[in-house]
């Protein structure tokens, strides 16, 4: 549905994105991940035809974004990072305006449906300026799906919402993903993990990794993280565990528990268990902990364990972890 090749964008002398290539298939929900300033918004703006790329090609539904901008825009629903609302209009008037711009037939019925989807039907006569941030976000989303677009592009759809609203919006997006192709950007990693079928990670404008959320964990690190607990003081077994071949990054996580990682591709659980027991401790628990996308992300963008085609990333100054949630 979305086909991006060699996408590069310069702002003056500053290169915002460099040679991005990716595809999004029909019906997929794809997360576009990266720290602040990674080039997510720039990429999305190019996809929606808001600005042209410096070089490279974007095709949506078979249409080139530059050559057939109107066809592409008809097909795309877009929620920009700053929700584009007119504060002096009522929710209904705003939706009506968008419906007219998009030449939607039976606009009133469609608006009712869409507002119901985002549970805003009871606020349709209220002024947008008086809505809370979460409601504004939902109206923005309603605007993006009004014309039943084949492709939905959502730039940080849950930013600034409270936890309850975040869950609501995520559920809406998941529902939308059943009928639409969705591409959403976020720097909140659990969000991508929950909502997306697949993630594309970029950093400093460059491609870092791309895979399904589960496969990404194993493929990129190949490592297992294991949780171990014993009867008694876990710090005593720490040397035993760390001296086991293949074990790295041992850390204490409680009085009677610790966590360690295995080197990529090695399953060290049985050796560790044998060593702990033969050292005279009571082993209570030994289980695999799945690495969160957050851990992977940090490793990808900070350490230099990078997949083959993104070696230049380590040249750029690294992002601070505070920038991410």
């Amino acid at each position: 549905m979305i086909h991006v090749t060699g996408l590069t964008k310069d702002y003056g002398k500053r290169r915002a994105i460099t040679n991005l290539n990716f595809d999004v298939k029909k019906g997929e929900i794809v997360g576009f991940l990266g720290p602040n300033g990674a080039g997510k918004t720039t990429t999305m703006r190019i996809l929606t035809g808001y600005m042209p790329p410096t070089s490279g090609k974007v095709e949506i539904g078979g249409y080139d974004v530059i050559e057939n901008p109107l066809e592409v825009r008809r097909m795309v629903g877009y929620l920009p990072e700053t929700v584009p609302l007119y504060n002096d209009m009522t929710v209904f008037d705003y939706m009506m305006y968008m419906a007219r711009i998009r030449h939607i037939e039976n606009a009133e019925d469609r608006i009712d449906d869409v507002l119901e989807m985002v549970s805003m039907e009871d606020r349709s006569s209220g002024y947008i300026g008086k809505l809370s941030k979460g409601m504004r976000q939902r109206v923005g989303l309603a605007q993006a799906i009004l014309h039943k677009p084949d492709v939905l592009i959502l730039d940080e759809p849950t930013i600034g919402l409270d936890p309850g609203q975040i869950i609501e919006v995520r559920n809406i997006i998941k529902d939308l993903g059943k009928e639409h192709t969705v591409m959403l950007s976020t720097h909140i990693l659990p969000e991508a993990q929950q909502v997306c079928d697949r993630v594309i990670i970029i950093n400093k404008g460059q491609f870092v990794a791309e895979d399904s959320t589960e496969r990404l964990q194993t493929r990129l690190t190949g490592a297992q993280r294991v949780h171990l607990s014993i009867r008694g003081d876990a710090s005593e077994v720490l040397p035993v565990v760390s001296s086991t071949p293949g074990v790295i990054n041992v850390s204490s996580t409680g009085i009677d528990s610790l966590e360690f990682e295995s080197k990529p591709g090695e399953d060290v659980r049985s050796t560790v268990a044998r060593n702990v027991i033969s050292a005279g401790y009571d082993l209570l628990e030994l289980k695999k902990v799945s690495m969160s996308l957050e851990d992977i992300f940090l490793e990808l963008t900070r350490d230099e364990i990078l997949p083959e085609h993104s070696t230049e990333i380590s040249d750029s100054p690294e992002i601070e972890p505070e920038e991410m949630r």
Partner: protein, 243 residues
């Protein structure tokens, strides 16, 4: 065409929720009203019947200064609230956005002109045998055409800046320059002077419409000024994408 109408009507409605528009309408009605009263009294003292010019004269001068205030917001606001991104990613052509904005602003100025129609009506009651209807219609047609050009210049200037004040002064500057361009023309030679004088905004109004005459060349002048400004505005919106 449909998009222009949609954008224009929204823009027009938007004016009625903006304080600037009310301030402009209020200022125009107040000052024209005061001058109208003053003129009526002094004409009466001399025992003469005033013409429609006592309304049109002040109206032209006021519109010269207030139209930039009406248009300065149009694109700047969209930029600030992020709704420009919405329009530029909607299936709408760039020139449709600009023409739609112009249409909305022009409708608003026409509404003010319509409200000012109250003064000719009063005047018509006061003087006998009434005012010259031809002069009235020609003057208002001229005003409408001139305002079409003012609004178009304003929209084009506003599309250049995301700052309202900058848009205001650029618009005012262009209109004032076009207003006064015939002064330097007087010292120029016959050929060059003639061309420069043709560009003068006021010349096309005071020598014809104001006197109750309608000349096709003046109509064409204002329409082409409008068209050129709208074209430049569209180019500016398009270039915005490349920035």
């Amino acid at each position: 065409m449909r998009n222009i109408w949609t954008i224009g009507i929204r823009e027009y409605k938007h004016y009625f929720s903006s304080p600037i528009a009310y301030a402009v309408a209020f200022v125009i009605m107040l000052i024209v009203g005061i001058l109208f009263y003053v003129n009526l009294v002094s004409y009466a003292n001399y025992g003469m019947a005033p013409g429609i010019q006592i309304v049109i004269g002040p109206l032209v001068t006021l519109l010269l200064f207030t139209t930039p205030a009406v248009t300065m917001n149009t694109m700047a606001d969209e930029q600030k609230t992020g709704t420009l991104e919405l329009l530029l990613t909607a299936p709408v052509r760039d020139h449709e956005i600009i023409i739609g904005k112009w249409f909305g602003g022009f409708l608003f100025i026409l509404t003010i002109l319509l409200a000012s129609w109250i003064f000719p009506i009063i005047l018509n009651q006061l003087v006998s045998p009434g005012i010259d209807q031809g002069e009235l219609l020609a003057s208002y047609l001229g005003l409408a055409l001139m305002c079409a050009a003012f609004v178009a210049i304003g929209i084009a200037a506003s599309s250049l800046f995301s700052n309202q004040i900058a848009a205001f002064f650029l618009t005012l500057g262009i209109i004032m320059a076009l207003w006064m361009i015939s002064y330097p023309a007087q010292s120029m030679g016959a050929g060059g002077g003639e061309i420069v004088r043709y560009l003068d905004l006021g010349e096309h109004f005071y020598s014809t419409f104001y006197k109750g005459l309608i000349d096709l060349k003046d109509v064409i002048y204002y329409l082409s000024l409008t068209a050129v400004s709208l074209f430049l505005g569209s180019v500016s919106v398009e270039s915005r994408r490349w920035r």
